[in-house]
């Protein structure tokens, strides 16, 4: 029951197909940027992207025409403002129309929990008084059979593929992440297939008790991609590159500049290591 590591290009080739629903998670931390880039390089199309906070990684995928739909709860540039490519797709259908399934963080994280737990729906105290349920059939209300209270329900999320970035895997393929762990365990378990990029592969995981560990047999591909969460951060390895985040605002503002940047830095590089090298120089 061990999962041996493969290249990220191979993992995306094997496990991500056109039309798939793909959850890329990491709540401000451990965002799988390298994997997102590889999806762009391999020119996947018609993906349903699933992510609580579709920040730069989804802005890039959407702007490059990989997505037909977005399941999300907050699509902004953290601490900065708008995601220009996301807005351009929703407001002006560029480069393609983008269907949206919009919930809230509480609902989406509960939907992942339901997905991991084999339930068809999540139940929460949510959306009361909000206009969102008027625009999303995936938000309904049910009645508690014991108290007759009205509760919100939302369908479980079970993506075709989950992609996460973690700090470590051992040689058997067991994965350890720590710090802000977000919804990563949940999407890994909710998805049909799971790709994990890691900072490093080690002999022994040395996980502290009750740490967030994914056993090898729950994972389909492990790829060693040091720095694979850049410009987000990997706790214990490197910090968030706030300057790179701030710079994205200008890069992404115009379609032309965005396209040129992506052509040069993502499509024009072989892999994430080359991308980072090119960007640094």
């Amino acid at each position: 029951m061990s999962t041996s590591s493969i290249s990220l290009a191979e993992a995306i080739r094997l496990h991500v197909s056109d039309g798939d629903s793909v959850a890329l998670e990491g709540f401000t931390h451990l965002i799988p940027f390298a994997a997102g880039h590889e999806i762009i390089r391999q020119r996947r199309r018609d993906l349903t992207l699933v992510r609580l906070t579709p920040d730069l990684i989804c802005d890039q995928l959407i702007g490059m025409g990989c997505a037909k739909k977005l399941v999300f709860s907050w699509g902004g540039h953290p601490g900065v403002g708008s995601l220009h490519r996301f807005r351009d797709a929703v407001e002006k259908a560029w480069p393609a129309p983008l269907e949206i399934d919009e919930r809230s963080h509480a609902a989406m994280s509960a939907a992942y929990v339901a997905g991991a737990a084999g339930l068809p729906m999540a139940v929460l105290r949510g959306f009361v008084g909000s206009d969102l349920p008027n625009h999303n059939a995936n938000i309904r209300f049910i009645e508690c059979p014991f108290t007759q209270e009205k509760l919100a329900a939302t369908p479980a999320i079970n993506p075709d593929v989950a992609i996460i970035h973690a700090q470590k895997a051992d040689r058997q393929g067991n994965v350890l992440l720590w710090g802000i762990v977000g919804v990563q365990k949940e999407i890994a378990l909710a998805a049909t297939r799971c790709i994990v990029t890691v900072e490093e592969i080690v002999d022994k995981l040395e996980a502290p008790p009750n740490a967030c560990v994914l056993p090898a047999w729950t994972i389909d591909a492990i790829c060693e991609v040091p720095g694979g969460a850049f410009p987000s951060y990997a706790h214990g390895y490197y910090e968030r590159d706030n300057a790179a985040y701030l710079a994205w605002d200008a890069v992404s503002k115009s379609r032309e500049q965005f396209t040129a940047w992506m052509d040069q830095h993502v499509l024009g590089t072989e892999n994430f290591a080359e991308f980072r090298h090119q960007l640094a120089s």
Binding site: H29, F86, H135, E239, A243
Partner: protein, 256 residues
């Protein structure tokens, strides 16, 4: 000492409303600034909860994103995103939700979803994030927003997060407790009138006239019987705020 800017006053006034020992679910930006200022001044035992799962975070610098490493490292515990919303917010453990928004209306409803129609938006905003459930489930909500007639509007284009809905007992009828107790702006403070739940001006910052505040508001404003003038920032408050921002700036310069 340089006299305080309007944003500084807004932040300081908001920080004063946070009681010591309370648990506060903090949005990013000015809410986070105000909550940390409270922690560094009159409320050392305030418990800051960020939606990234950090409970009891005590950041020395302000996070740019809601899940910076600084938050995790200084927290009492870091839990998953599902847990923070289920056990901590929905579980009824949050005293104060500290929120910003693109628009707030006369009944303190918040919009962070769209300007214009949902299907054909003029401006697509980031969306709900944690706000609908924070606004619904925290025992109290504080809202921080810059005064501007396009931001303080008679009726929001879209209710992302409930304030008092149509006013009166509409919120209670919808099954919600709590509700916003104050909207803090760069011009003053608005509070819901007891019965109607319409936001009325209860406080203005020094040097702000009623006309000024009316001009910056998208509906015909009413004023409380007793409108107080904001106590000026103390030297302690102003120093703590400026040092916090300086530390934050220095750290960002160093990192880039």
């Amino acid at each position: 000492m340089k006299s305080p800017t309007r944003t500084e006053i807004m932040t300081i006034v908001a920080s004063r409303l946070l009681g010591d020992g309370s648990t506060c679910f903090v949005g990013i930006g000015i809410p986070s600034m105000a909550a940390n200022l409270a922690r560094l001044t009159h409320a050392p035992d305030v418990v800051l909860i960020y939606e990234s799962g950090t409970i009891g975070a005590k950041p020395n610098i302000l996070p740019l994103s809601i899940g910076d490493g600084e938050l995790a490292e200084t927290a009492d515990t870091v839990v998953s995103t599902p847990e923070i919303f289920a056990y901590w917010l929905q579980g009824g453990r949050v005293d104060v939700g500290f929120l910003g928004a693109a628009q707030v209306d006369k009944f303190a409803n918040l919009n962070s979803t769209v300007i214009g129609e949902y299907q054909t938006p003029k401006v697509r905003l980031p969306g709900a994030g944690g706000a609908p459930e924070i606004a619904a489930l925290a025992k109290d909500t504080l809202i921080i927003i810059n005064h501007d007639p396009r931001k303080l509007v008679e009726r929001v284009d879209f209710i992302t997060s409930p304030g008092y809905l149509d006013g009166g007992d509409a919120r209670k009828k919808a099954g919600l407790k709590g509700g916003p107790s104050a909207v803090i702006t760069d011009l003053g403070v608005l509070v819901p009138e007891v019965d109607s739940k319409e936001l009325i001006v209860s406080q203005v910052h020094a040097g702000v006239t009623r006309d000024q505040i009316q001009e910056a508001t998208g509906w015909e404003l009413r004023f409380a019987d007793q409108v107080t003038e904001t106590e000026p920032p103390t030297e302690l408050e102003l120093t703590a705020l400026r040092q916090l921002l300086e530390r934050t700036e220095a750290s960002r310069r160093q990192a880039s």
